[in-house]
Each structure stands twice: as C-alpha cells, then as structure tokens.
C-alpha cells in the first residue's frame, strides 16, 4: 500500500491554495488531516498529482462562539472535544466526535475534511445536517454558502467545486436536548447506524426536533418528516414510533459486511429511538 508519486504543496493562504487548485484542476486535491485521503491514495483508489496541504493556513483554524458558532475547517476533531466553551454551547459536537475513530485519528482528522469528504460513513455530515449548519466555500469566483442539508449529492459527490475550499462551518447555537447515538463493530469503525438528534421542549412537549442519520444511504439523511413527527408530542412511545416510521421512508441502506438491509433498517429504528429518548430527557 504505497501511493503513486505526487507533488507536495504547502500554501500559507487560502488564496494561494485556491490558485494551486485552479492551476492543476482535476489533478490537484486539498489535504487537511489526510486521514481519509491518504488511505485512498495508498490503496491507489485516488490518484493525485498535486497534493495541497492546508495545514499552514491559519485562516482555516479557530472556533468562534456567539449567537452562532463558527468552526474553521481545519479544526481537528480533538480540538472540538477539548474546547469546553464549545461543549457548553453545542454539547452534541463532543458526544459525536468522541465516537469517531480513535484518539490518534482525532488528533489529526479535521472537521472540514470530515464534512467535505463526502463518504457516507463520516459522522460529521449527518451531525451538521441535524444542526442545519452552513458551509462556507471559497473559490476563484469568491465565496458562497451552502446548507449542509443541500451539500451531499451521492457518495463522494458534493456541491463543492474542485477549485473551491471549505473554509468554515457555521450554525446557530442549538437549543434543548441532544444525542448522538452510534452503533459500530469496534473502535475505529464507521457506523452500522447512527442518529443525530436535537430536541427543544417546553412544558413536557416537543417544540422543535431535528433528526439526521448516518451511513444508511449513499449520503447523510436529514429526515424532516421524522423531526416533524415529534413536534407537539410528549415524546412517548407512539411518537417515537412515528418518527422512526418516517425516518425509515427516507433511508436506503445497502448490504455490506456490517449486515444485510433488514438488519440495518431495524437497527436504524432502534438507534433513532434511543437517541430521541436521550435527547428528550436532556431537553
């Protein structure tokens, strides 16, 4: 497992990175933590002539917390976990990040890389859909914002253009209870099924709910209907059941080593049910 030869670039500014991407087109690829990209290169599933390492671009780093939260693309998963202010403002981030891979990978893997990668197994995309986050993309034609819920097209295909960089992720400070529930075969494995849930409640009734599922289709699945099924309810068994039923209409899992489709569909329901119950208990 040795990658093919490539040129290595290490720009210091977003503009320099973009001009490298523009100059080399298809043949260039940005690299953040490298923990999805480098395995693909080693398996020779990705052939990359010019590797543009983003590590030295200070503008891509840092977390800002106000009414909304802005996370620089290059923020590592470990930094998310260790940022106590962020954990107070949006605790679901830490709960989810702790379920990604292992500490060594989280020390290097970035949030930006995780959401830009487009692998349906990544946990952050579903999480960002649940939070209704916005991705800021910068390219030769300037910057634009895309909602996480609109970003994913199919496995490894996103609405990001090859010459655009993901610069930051922004979302409104979440309110209410949260849960990130994930089943995997072992530490370091992608989800067999995972659910991201945010629930706001008042007087024992759900006032708003947002639900997204991971690794149960070729993209993350934001299920508006599942969230809607909870609103106005006391989140009892019947309500959870209708949310699960709605979610099951939105996912389309494939059979693989983690199990056949029937198992995944059943498991998706169990995991979502548990996530809803936990989020509501915290709301």
């Amino acid at each position: 497992m040795i990658p093919a030869a490539f040129e290595y670039h290490r720009p210091k500014a977003v503009a320099d990175a973009i001009s490298l991407l523009t100059q080399h087109g298809d043949d260039a690829r940005a690299m953040a933590g490298g923990h999805s990209l480098i395995p693909m290169m080693k398996l020779r599933m990705a052939h990359i002539g010019h590797l543009v390492d983003l590590q030295d671009i200070a503008d891509l780093k840092g977390v800002t917390i106000g009414a909304s939260i802005r996370i620089g693309a290059l923020t590592t998963q470990a930094e998310l976990i260790n940022n106590t202010a962020l954990t107070t403002a949006a605790p679901i981030l830490k709960e989810a990040a702790l379920q990604i891979a292992d500490p060594q990978i989280r020390n290097v893997g970035t949030v930006g890389g995780n959401v830009a990668n487009g692998d349906p197994g990544n946990d952050m995309p579903g999480l960002m859909q649940c939070l209704d986050a916005t991705y800021t993309l910068t390219g030769p034609r300037g910057s634009r914002d895309v909602r996480a819920r609109d970003f994913y097209q199919s496995a490894y295909f996103t609405s990001r253009k090859d010459d655009e960089l993901l610069v930051a992720i922004t979302f409104a400070k979440p309110v209410g209870g949260y849960a990130y529930e994930k089943q995997k075969r072992k530490i370091g494995d992608y989800a067999t099924a995972a659910a991201a849930v945010q629930i706001a409640a008042s007087g024992g009734r759900v006032t708003a709910a947002s639900i997204a599922m991971t690794n149960l289709s070729d993209t993350p699945v934001y299920s508006a209907a599942a969230g809607a099924a909870l609103v106005g309810t006391a989140c009892d068994a019947a309500a959870i059941k209708s949310a699960v039923t709605a979610m099951l209409l939105d996912i389309n899992p494939a059979s693989d080593n983690r199990g056949p489709v029937e198992f995944k569909r059943h498991l998706a329901g169990v995991i979502l049910g548990r996530a809803i119950a936990r989020a509501f208990s915290r709301a």
Partner: protein, 806 residues
C-alpha cells in the same frame, strides 16, 4: 554451609528459576521500538520485490504485458512462471504433500494469487510498476462452496491433477477432492447411534479466519556470489525446515544456506509455511546478485498467506437417557482452498482433529475428513493451536451443549458425568490417543465455584422472566467450556514435517565465569522464550536466569529443531533444555567431587551448589565448577562445560482447562457485552506464572475476535470480503474483555519438568466459551446451532428468526 550463605529459599529466589514471575527480558527492546524485525533490515545494494496479484478467483491467464512496468525507471525485472520453469521453481511442494504455483502457470485459482514478481531499485518504483502490468484474464466459473465443489458437474479447479486418482493421503474420489482421512471404528459407532436412547445431530461450522499477526510475512534473500552462500532473513516459525526446503528446491547444499529469523511480530501459524515470496526473492537475488527484500502488506497477508479453519463438521452424539455418552460420530468437509497448503505433521492430513472426543470418556467414535479444493486462498494452518485442535474442541464443546439441550439437562452437569476420571489416566481415547494426565473434575468444580455457577443460573432465570414480562430487552448467556488439547508434536515415530522428525534441541555453553549461553531449535514470536528457557536452565544448573542468554533462529548457530507452533516449544525444546542442563550438572558434579576430594556420590545438589552430604560447610557452587572446567586439569575429564540435547518426546502433552464466559446480549441491536471471562488453565508445571497469564490474555482475546466477528468471507465471485483491518475484526483494548485467570497443576508424567504448554489453550478453549454463551442466551427460545462469527447482525438474526422482535 557457613553463616554467610543465604538460606535455600533466598538462593532459589535469586536464581529466578521455574515458578518465578520473572519480567520478560524481551520487553525492554519491544516496548522501546528497538526490536529488529525483517523490515528493519537494510543492506547495501538491497533491492525490492512485490507481486502482481490476481483480481479474479478463477481465470485463465492469456497473457501478461510487462512492457509498461519494465519502462518504469529503476525496474530491473518482472518474473513470471516461464522464467522460473527452467529452474523447476514455478511450482513448489507444500507441507501437506501437494504442490502450489509460485507464479501463475496458465491460470489463477484464487483472488490475490501471485502472477508476476516485479523487482526494482526502490519500493515505490516496484509499487508503480506492479500497477502497470497488464494481465489478460479469461474468467472461469468460480466455486467457493466446498459442497458445490464436490458436485458432479463442478468446474475442474486443479487441471494439473487431471487423471490423478491417488493423492498423498490416499484415493481422490472427485476432481476437486484432496483426501479422505478416517479414524476410529465407523461400523461400531454407527451401531451405537442406531441403538442409542438419545442422538443429537448438528452441522457445526468453524468459519474461515486468519492468524493476522501484527507483522506480516516477509524476507530478505541475499545470494553472495563470491562465496556461494545464500542468507535469508525472514518471518519463519521453523527456520531449519526452511533451510532444508530451500536446499532441496535450489540444490544449494544446506551448509551454504543460512536462515535467520530475527524478531518476529507474532506468527500464530501464519509463518510456518513456505510462500511464493520467499522463492521469488531467492531467485531474484541469485539472478541479480543483490539482496532482495519482499514484505507483504496487510491486504496481501489477509488475502494470500495461510488462512485457518473452514471446517464443516457434521456431528452425531449418542447418549443414554441419563446423559452418559455412548458414542461420537463426525464427518468433516474441510475447505482447503486452491492448494493443500496445510501445515500438519505428514501423517495427519487433518491434523489432530481426532482429539475431538475432548475431555470425555467416549467408548466408541468415528471421524472422517474429506479435504476439498475451492477457489479460495490456500492454507489451513494451526492459528494459535496445535493442528486442528481448535476445530476439534469447538466441535465437541458444541456437541455437548446440543446434547444437553436434547436431554434437557444442565450442560455443566452433563460434562461432569462424562469426564474422564483422574484414575483413568493414562487414558486411551477411542480415536487412538493416550492422554498422559488430567484431573478434570477438580478443575471443573473449582471453576464452577469461582464463578458462582448456581448463582449465575438463578440470575439468568430471573433475567429471562423479566425479558418475557417485557421489563428488559437483554438476555444473559453463560458459556461453558472444558477443553483438552494435544500439543508438543511430537514423537518422531509418527510425527514429521517433510520427513523431518519433530524432535527439538538445546545446546548449552557455560562460560568460565559462570554465565551461560543456550541455543534452541525453536523461535519465539512473542512467547518470551528468552525469559522462560533461561528459567528452566536456572533451576537445572543453579546459574541465575539473568546470566543466561537464550539464542534462537539462526540456523548457522542454533541446533536443528522443528520450530515454534502447536505449543511445542516447552513440551519439546523445553525438555531438551532441561536435559541438556542435567548433562551440565552431571559433569559439574564430577568437577565438584574432584575439587572437594570426595566421591561423586558423596555430593548432593542444593539449588546452586554441590554440598558434601552431612558436611554442609563443604561445597562448590556451579560458578566455581564452571571456572574449574576451564582452568584445571581434571583427570579423566575434558576441559570445558557444554552440553547438547536432542529430545524426541515419548508422547504428546495434554493441557486442559475450564473456561466460563458470561455475556449480556441486546436482542435489538445484536450487541454482546462480555461481563466476565474466567479461565482456569492446567498446563502442568508452571514455569513463569506471569507469562502464562499474558498468554491466556492474548489467546483469549484472539478467541474473542474469532468467535465474535473475525472472518475471511468470500462472495459468489470469490472476492475476498475482509481484506483490510477495516473489515477484518481485530479487537482494540476497548473491546477486549477483562479476564480472570486461575489454575490447577497436573504435571505431565513423561516430561522432564512436567510442563505441558499453554500458549494456545486460551484460543482453543476460548472460542467455544464465547460461542456457547451466545447460544446459551437463546437456549430457552429453541436455538440449537448458529454459526460463528457472532457479530452484531448475526446475533440480531438469531433473535429475529426466533421471533423476538415485534
């Protein structure tokens, strides 16, 4: 003794001999990253080789275009079968009496099979060139199911065997058949089955998995054209056998071949055989006159080098209405893949599978095994076990549980009433083995008490009631296992590998100042030989273990031995070590007698010295004797203090143990939490309790992996589904259960120090314990058998099929 002499206990403790939990001397380098593995070897002028491997499981090779690969800067050669044919090296013999393609000769028979060997100046250039070799395949129909392989119209896999109705192990009854091996009394067993009160019958599948050592296989071959000497460093569990094979294949005399196993990062049977990479590296070095390094990557290792298990075991067990077992019948369909490359003693094509009567007094039994070719990787090695003992133990321990269900009996009690009793040893088993010693009832009772078995069953009943009442979705499983192993192969009269008797050896030199060097025919791969063998010698010779250096793995210096696998190092080389130590002591006694001016018989051994009987202040220490051996002219004695011992064991040893696993199963998600795992091992005399505990932890963790998720599976096209560690389950510290270890000690009566071997017991006994726990959790819902691995979806499927989901 004078007043300054420490007492016996203090002196014995200072030796760190047998029984001491001496710290592993290897760990200083391993824990600091200072080990010296094959891939650490760098030589001037060294070049690299790697394989172009088949994408298909079964295809004819119509052509191989190497032009683009040869154009890559730094590429020296691309070897194909045609290049090896003039040397007769395009095929090689396997340890099982079959032959295997080194490079594809006209066709490929499994995905990942070696087609061409690319040699170049840098590892990177070789990887680039491999990608540029264009292979023209014509796909052929694929057979991955051994039962389909034996069907009348099945595709012919081994065209090279066309018309051969005799194989190395008797008649071949079909073009994809390898051998039939039968042991025991078939008619008598079938008569018992026909007349029995109760017969339980099941198909028990032990799935295909892989030893997956942390370090993959590899070598550096270096042909010195000036002196004609071939040196090869590699991941060899049996370096001397590799030397003999290399000599027989190449025609180079053994005296001009040096095989070195440096540090080995785990073997587990994966590094016993000879692989195409070794042959190609040697050829490439002979052709280029330069050292050639070949190292597998993880995918190569999982896809192409030796797998383990893949046994379909059809069993019938007969008993009286009271549960006394009257007979055992087993027919196994053994999937060996494309070539029969099992590593078993020659006369045992299914290894020691005939230990499948287990710990039980079974009057009559029959075992038949049919070996079958399929389009899967070759192998069938003993993954942390002695030659198919894991399969045998899993089979009998499942059959016992299935019989208990049929009899509606407690499975612990069913075992107890069928155990071979202590007074029956040495015990002749129905399938031909002589069990040397054992005390199963004592071990079993101790285990049941330690885990509070009655309490556990009561708790399980409550849990079940709660489950049925809708109060919980979790079931509790209690997994029992009492295993008996057969290790320490083995007596030369019936055990050999490629004709080499399975003795082992030790050679000791005592230096003038009383420290020592001992060399053995075995090779450690993590077992801690440098620690434990020094302990045996310390006790035998009175030289502190810390002053004894153990060397293994270099055929130029170590005495001939058959290597390390099948838990044979302590039973065989350990015995040689003890006996060589005794030879040292015998000579030292004569020296002491001379120095003390008494008769030999007037001396007695006291920990580290010879003392004149009845005159304790008159003594000579081993250290003093060693010095005298080199600086005194002793009449009638040669100078020096050395000894060699080659040990041919009179019998195997039979370690045993009682394992109990308790798990909680979430029926909705299929997640199984191992709540506790109790492992009682009886490996006879215990040399280093700490190392035993470490071996049990390691082996039980591999057992956990195998039972609960690890597999090598193929789709219908013969694509390997688990070729990376993303999908091949190796537990991390997080998943690994916590173990409670315990022991009884029943020394082997025929072994010089009574030791039996322990490294593999936890794998042999662990798999049934984990698997039985899963089955036990669902027993009251009618489950009798569900094949491993018990990963989440398969456990979920059990619950689903039993109607436990709404």
């Amino acid at each position: 003794m004078n007043d300054l002499t420490p007492d016996q206990t203090a002196r014995a403790t200072a030796l760190k001999g047998m029984g001491s939990s001496r710290k592993r001397v290897e760990d200083a380098r391993f824990t600091q990253g200072k080990g010296n593995y094959v891939d650490d070897i760098k030589m001037t002028g060294m070049i690299y080789g790697d394989f172009v491997r088949s994408q298909y499981a079964h295809a004819r090779i119509k052509g191989v275009d190497t032009a683009a690969a040869l154009a890559v800067p730094g590429i020296i050669a691309v070897l194909q079968a045609a290049d090896l044919a003039p040397l007769g090296l395009h095929w090689m013999p396997t340890l099982a009496g079959d032959k295997q393609m080194v490079l594809a000769d006209g066709k490929v028979l499994f995905q990942g099979q070696e087609i061409a060997f690319v040699v170049g100046e840098t590892r990177a250039a070789v990887a680039d060139a491999c990608e540029l070799v264009v292979v023209d395949y014509e796909e052929l129909p694929v057979v991955v199911d051994p039962f389909k392989a034996m069907a009348a119209g099945a595709p012919v896999l081994r065209e090279d065997l066309a018309g051969q109705t005799k194989g190395p192990h008797g008649d071949r009854i079909h073009h994809n058949h390898i051998f039939r091996w039968e042991v025991g009394d078939k008619p008598a067993t079938e008569a018992v089955l026909a007349g029995a009160d109760v017969v339980a019958e099941e198909m028990v599948y032990y799935h295909r998995t892989h030893p997956c050592p942390l370090e993959t296989c590899g070598c550096v071959a270096s042909m010195d054209k000036i002196n004609g000497k071939l040196t090869m460093w590699g991941t060899f569990q049996a370096p001397h056998v590799v030397r003999t094979v290399a000599s027989l294949l190449s025609g180079i005399p053994e005296s001009s071949i040096r095989i070195v196993s440096p540090d080995i990062g785990g073997g587990f049977g994966n590094k016993v055989g000879v692989y195409p990479g070794y042959v190609c590296a040697i050829v490439a070095s002979i052709v280029t006159g330069r050292p050639v390094k070949w190292i597998e990557d993880r995918m190569d290792n999982l896809m192409a080098t030796a797998f383990a298990r893949d046994y379909w075991m059809h069993g019938k067990i007969a008993a009286t209405a009271e549960g006394k077992i009257t007979g055992l019948w087993c027919h196994t369909t053994a999937d060996h893949g494309a070539f029969d490359a099992c590593a078993d003693p020659t006369k045992f094509p299914a290894g020691f599978m005939s230990i499948c009567t287990g710990s039980y007094d079974i009057p009559v039994a029959y075992l038949g095994v049919d070996g079958v070719y399929t389009n899967k990787a070759p192998g069938g090695v003993a993954y942390r076990c002695s030659f198919r003992v894991t399969e045998a133990a899993y089979f009998i321990e499942r059959m016992i549980e299935i019989l208990a269900i049929k009899l509606n009996m407690d499975a612990a009690e069913l075992r107890r009433i069928n155990f071979i009793r202590k007074d029956q040893f040495p015990y002749q088993s129905a399938l031909g083995w002589e069990y040397d010693s054992g005390d199963y009832h004592t071990a079993w009772d101790k285990a049941l008490k330690a885990v509070n078995y009655t309490g556990l069953r009561a708790e399980q009943a409550t849990r079940l009631a709660d489950f049925k009442a809708g109060k919980t979705r979790s079931l509790m499983g209690i997994g029992l296992c009492h295993f008996t192993e057969i290790v320490g192969a083995g007596p030369v009269k019936n055990c050999d590998i490629l004709g080499m008797g399975m003795f082992d050896s030790c050679e000791i030199r005592i230096h003038p100042t009383g420290s020592a060097l001992a060399r053995l025919g075995t090779i450690s791969q993590g077992q801690g030989h440098a620690t434990t063998f020094a302990q045996i010698l310390a006790t035998e010779t009175g030289i502190p273990a810390d002053q004894i250096t153990i060397e293994e793995g270099d055929t130029d210096t170590a005495p001939y031995g058959l290597g390390t696998y099948g838990s044979r190092s302590t039973p065989v080389a350990g015995a040689a070590t003890a006996l060589a130590g005794r030879k040292i002591r015998a000579k030292a006694q004569m020296i002491a007698a001379y120095l003390l001016e008494v008769h030999d018989n007037d001396l007695e051994w006291d920990v580290d010295r010879f003392v004149v009987k009845g005159v304790p202040e008159r003594f000579k220490t081993m250290k003093e004797c060693a010095y005298a051996a080199y600086n005194q002219a002793i009449p009638g004695l040669e100078p020096g203090l050395e000894a060699v011992s080659y040990y041919d064991p009179p019998n195997m040893t039979y370690p045993f143990g009682a394992y109990i696993c308790v798990m909680d199963i979430d029926v909705d998600t299929g997640v199984a939490d191992i709540r506790s795992f109790y492992a009682l091992d009886d490996c006879g005399t215990r040399i280093n309790p700490m190392i035993i505990e470490g071996q049990v932890h390691g082996g039980a963790t591999e057992a956990y992996a195998i039972a609960m998720g690890q597999e090598v599976a193929y789709d219908e096209m013969g694509n390997c589904m688990n070729s990376t560690l993303m999908d091949f389950f190796l537990p991390t510290a997080w998943e690994t259960p916590h173990y409670t270890t315990d022991h009884t000690e029943t020394p082997s009566p025929h072994h010089p120090i009574g030791a039996k071997g322990v490294g593999e017991s936890p794998n042999v006994g662990g798999v049934p314990a984990f698997s039985n726990a899963v089955h036990d959790a669902f027993r009251s819902f009618g489950l009798t058998q569900s094949h491993m691995p018990h990963d989440h979806w398969r456990i979920w499927r059990i619950a689903n099929q039993l109607g436990l989901h709404e």
